[in-house]
Symmetry: C2
Subunit: 145 residues, 2 copies
């Protein structure tokens, strides 16, 4: 590998990203294509390490690849006011909070289900009972006389 550049494997180790993921980011235009060596190996420069580190941090914070793409684009213009950045982050936070609420509900329901299970047969299992349809679910019940 040329001096001042590094291979995809080295970039992978330096950023904690899988090699295939790096190639994937290049394919979708998130990471610019690097120079190539004589043997057609990718030769990355500092620019790529910076950019991939940025992407990884964004992903670790749960931003979508599209969000990351936008954050990268915005961060390139250092004079721009950072309201748009703020908006993306706030939007993401709102989504995270929604997911948290949903999961907390779920946890409650699951705990209840599991607490009620008496370890008998399935015929008496509360978990199955909770999942199985009740009679009201019927569309064609016996006619109420």
């Amino acid at each position: 590998m040329m001096t001042g550049t590094f291979s995809i494997g080295e970039l992978a180790r330096a950023t904690g990203t899988k090699v295939e993921t790096i190639r994937y980011y290049e394919r979708i235009g998130l990471l610019p294509p690097p120079a190539r060596t004589g043997g057609n190996y990718r030769a990355y420069a500092q620019l790529h390490l910076d950019r991939l580190s940025f992407i990884r941090r964004g992903r670790d914070l749960g931003f979508s690849l599209d969000d990351v793409r936008e954050l990268l684009r915005l961060s390139d213009d250092r004079q721009r006011p950072c309201g748009e950045i703020d908006q993306i982050a706030r939007g993401h936070l709102a989504e995270v909070e929604r997911k948290l609420a949903d999961l907390a509900m779920l946890r409650g329901e699951l705990r209840q289900l599991i607490d009620q299970c008496q370890r008998g047969t399935i015929a008496e299992c509360r978990i199955i009972e909770a999942l199985a349809p009740r009679a009201e679910g019927k569309i064609f019940g016996s006619p109420t006389p």
Copy 2:
């Protein structure tokens, strides 16, 4: 539609599932193929309504389709002890709790980021700063003399 049976649209409305999703469940073998009318329309019976309701409830509780498949299989043998059911539910609960913890961490980090944003330019933006790589990230720095 024959008496005692109902169309895919009716089944969809009765269970709050999209028509395409019902066909998808049939394709992957989660819902048994129903009888067909002369015009090749699916004609569902009570069995299908019960089974699809079960699936929906399972999905609403966040079980994977594979979990649901297993729960359905187990629930068919009413004499079986319900330990396996319990295991699936506990496994899922553990996963939900893991996700909750992860999201709570994330929320904390995002809130910190957003709180620090002073609405200046991107050059001073704390959000970008948090994402952007620090000098330590460099693989090829100037040699320390």
